[in-house]
């Protein structure tokens, strides 16, 4: 037991040290939209809000005869109608791209596409910030820092999931929506209502999310536990809540990405190979402080010991005078508050949309499982490994594929250690 905990702690510390012993700007991706008949079309953009106007695109048939030419509008959109179905050659004039923007590595400026009669076809040019020739060491250092930050966000969001599973056996698929809820509530207080400073908004968000978590426990999950619903039924209830929560958030906040008004544009501070914004430093520092506080609390305080006792054996804990329901209520409140705060930090890093939490949920699960279900320290260590492997993998593979790495790592680890890296071996299957 002690060895495991020590090992988990060692990995946690190692990840932290690595980050400071060894840069990625916003990754770009282009997306396709289509809706009209027999046309070639696309939107030229990076991320969600950077569109490129005035870029020339020409379309030729296979013999090389020109069919049409288009220039992107202010929304980055272009389209060319083609006369008949067939294969066409679409080329992008690279000299018309803005400075500092180019095709991403490994992509061509000429794309051949086949169009069917009456159908529209999107043509994607993978544009992004042109490679600046940063040395590998510097890029590695920056990705490790990004990985640390991402891993810490996952770890903080994962605490609630892990503790709730430990104390009640509930696998909460709606945990991702708690994260999204935190992100949008903070946006609401920050940008829409009251225009609070984001730090104040984040504190309000934690209180709101904590109350929501406590409400879910007392209003829904405690009665369900008392009715002795099976594991499967409970999981399905949380899946239903997840769908419901995501759609309700989309109903009120829309599907378009939302930005916070504070801390958006910041000058990067240079520390050796790192170029870090104060915002990112604050994120890392706050989360490390919270994780340490949670660790100390679980290890030394009365409440922490009671939580661990309930995780170990709820009936025995109850019999020795621990108020199990109160412990579970606190765990829900704290877990939901931390998940909400995780959403705020993730929203600062990317943009806020209704899928923010669900995307994070799989990684949270991966972190929790990698560390071993129900072990708080394992969950922290597992999450850091997941976050780190996600970001560091972008050194070698395309950023679109970065989420494949942690998920594949999860499957591989479970192949050899079904109980997770730091879990206690129990007989399963």
């Amino acid at each position: 037991m002690w060895m495991r905990r020590l090992l988990a702690l060692a990995v946690f510390v190692l990840c932290f040290v690595l980050a400071w012993a060894v840069p990625v700007s916003a990754q770009s991706g282009s997306e396709a939209d289509s809706s009209q008949p027999t046309v070639l079309e696309d939107t030229l953009r990076v991320g969600f809000d950077q569109f490129f106007a005035g870029v020339e695109i020409t379309v030729a048939d296979q013999s090389g005869a020109s069919i049409g030419r288009a220039v992107t509008d202010s929304q980055g959109q272009w389209s060319v109608a083609v006369p008949v179905a067939g294969t066409y050659r679409v080329s992008l004039d690279q000299s018309t791209l803005p400075d500092g923007i180019g095709l991403r590595e490994g992509f061509e400026s000429i794309v051949e596409v086949a169009v069917l009669e009456g159908a529209s076809r999107a043509v994607v040019f993978a544009v992004g910030e042109a490679p600046k020739g940063t040395p590998f060491g510097d890029r590695a250092a920056q990705t490790v820092f990004n990985g640390l930050k991402f891993g810490l966000i996952i770890a903080m969001s994962a605490i609630g999931l892990s503790l709730i599973y430990g104390t009640t056996g509930l696998v909460n698929f709606a945990h991702g929506e708690l994260v999204t809820f935190g992100a949008v509530i903070a946006w609401y207080f920050n940008s829409s209502w009251g225009e609070l400073n984001l730090i104040v908004a984040a504190i309000v968000t934690m209180i709101v999310c904590g109350m929501l978590g406590a409400g879910l426990e007392t209003g829904l999950f405690r009665p369900l536990r008392n009715r002795r619903l099976g594991i499967f039924q409970l999981v399905v209830v949380t899946i239903g809540l997840s769908l419901l929560g995501r759609q309700v958030i989309q109903l009120f906040f829309g599907a378009e990405p939302l930005p916070y008004t504070d801390f958006q544009v910041q000058e990067r501070w240079e520390f050796g190979p790192w170029a870090v914004t104060p915002r990112e430093l604050m994120t890392v520092a706050v989360i490390i402080a919270i994780l340490l506080a949670m660790g100390l609390m679980l290890q030394w305080t009365r409440f922490g010991k009671a939580t661990r006792a309930v995780s170990d054996n709820a009936s025995l804990a109850e019999a020795s005078g621990i108020n199990v329901n109160r412990v579970v209520l606190m765990v829900w409140a704290i877990g939901a508050a931390l998940a909400g705060l995780g959403g705020v930090f993730q929203g600062l890093d990317t943009d806020i949309d209704p899928f923010l939490g669900f995307q994070l949920l799989l990684l949270i699960f991966a972190g929790v499982e990698l560390g071993g279900l129900g072990t708080a320290f394992g969950a922290m260590a597992g999450s850091l490994i997941i976050g780190m492997s996600t970001e560091v993998s972008t050194l070698w593979i395309s950023p679109e594929l970065k989420f494949v790495v942690p998920l594949a790592a999860l499957i591989l680890v479970l192949l050899f250690r079904p109980q997770g890296l730091f879990g206690i071996k129990a007989r399963v299957g």
Partner: protein, 335 residues
Amino acid sequence: MDFDIIFGNAARAAFGPEAVILALAAIGLNVHFGFTGLLNFGQVGFLLLGAYGTSVSVATFGWSLWVGILVGLVLSVALAVALGFPTLRLHAVMFAIVTIAAAEIIRILIGSTDAIGLTGGPLSVSFDAGAFYDLNPYPDGPHDRYGVGTFEFTGQQMWVITVGWVLVALVSLVVFLIVRSPWGRVLKSIREDEDAARSLGKNVFSYKMQALIIGGVIGGLGGVIDAIKTSGADPNGFRPQVTFFAYTALLLGGAATYMGPVLGAILFWFLREWIESFLRQLTAEAWLPDAVADFLSGSEGVISVAMVGLTLVLLMLFRPQGITGNRIEMQLDAR
């Protein structure tokens, strides 16, 4: 408010190709979860491989459609085997999460720009399903319609749904026969108590693997129908929530029953489309306050999916066995 249109839309959705696809996905899940107790949350991965196997074989390699369908089904088997080996020994909840993760890995890989040359990547893939429609016995002129009132299909749609529902009937029959056999009783005993089955000398791992393959191939068939219906495949059509919709259909109709998943799929699409059409008609009404109309318009789809979530919660609270299920059979603890 025109209830003819609302009911017509709902009925068309309930018997259209979407319901066929969902029914096949749910029947596959029923083999996994209902009869064997496997908590497969990655069913959409099987649909994806069925659809992409078919589309890519025809569009990229230029093979015949029938070969493509075979490729799609073989890929589903391959996924079941690849997934089963590392995961069938895991705890139920871990199995659920790993299956979601596997389906997401496949979706991300297939939808990435690196895969454009093979699968079309984010551009989606389209192919000519003419070989299928050449067999269409229904006259398909521009004015040929089949059905009554607002509940009508074109000749091409009729052909897809005829083949689809015949397939659903056949698959249901096969599932009925194999689950009723001694083999099926072993599956149910694994669901009820794995250790007891093992102590009787049954190779639990092998039975689970067989169930995973059979249910996966049925899901793959759903993907094949999807590919034929749309003459292609798009990575965004295979998000994890498709699996959750299949669970909703299964649990609505009744898990561990033979007609449950089919009934559930029909009902799922009927209700979802009914709500969406109803809201669309409602927002056009003059008596509705502008503020409410503005809030609702454009969000009809969002609300109908929210209702799916609510349905899942309420089902589990008040009728976990679904419409036709047996309450005692649904008392199982997934393992």
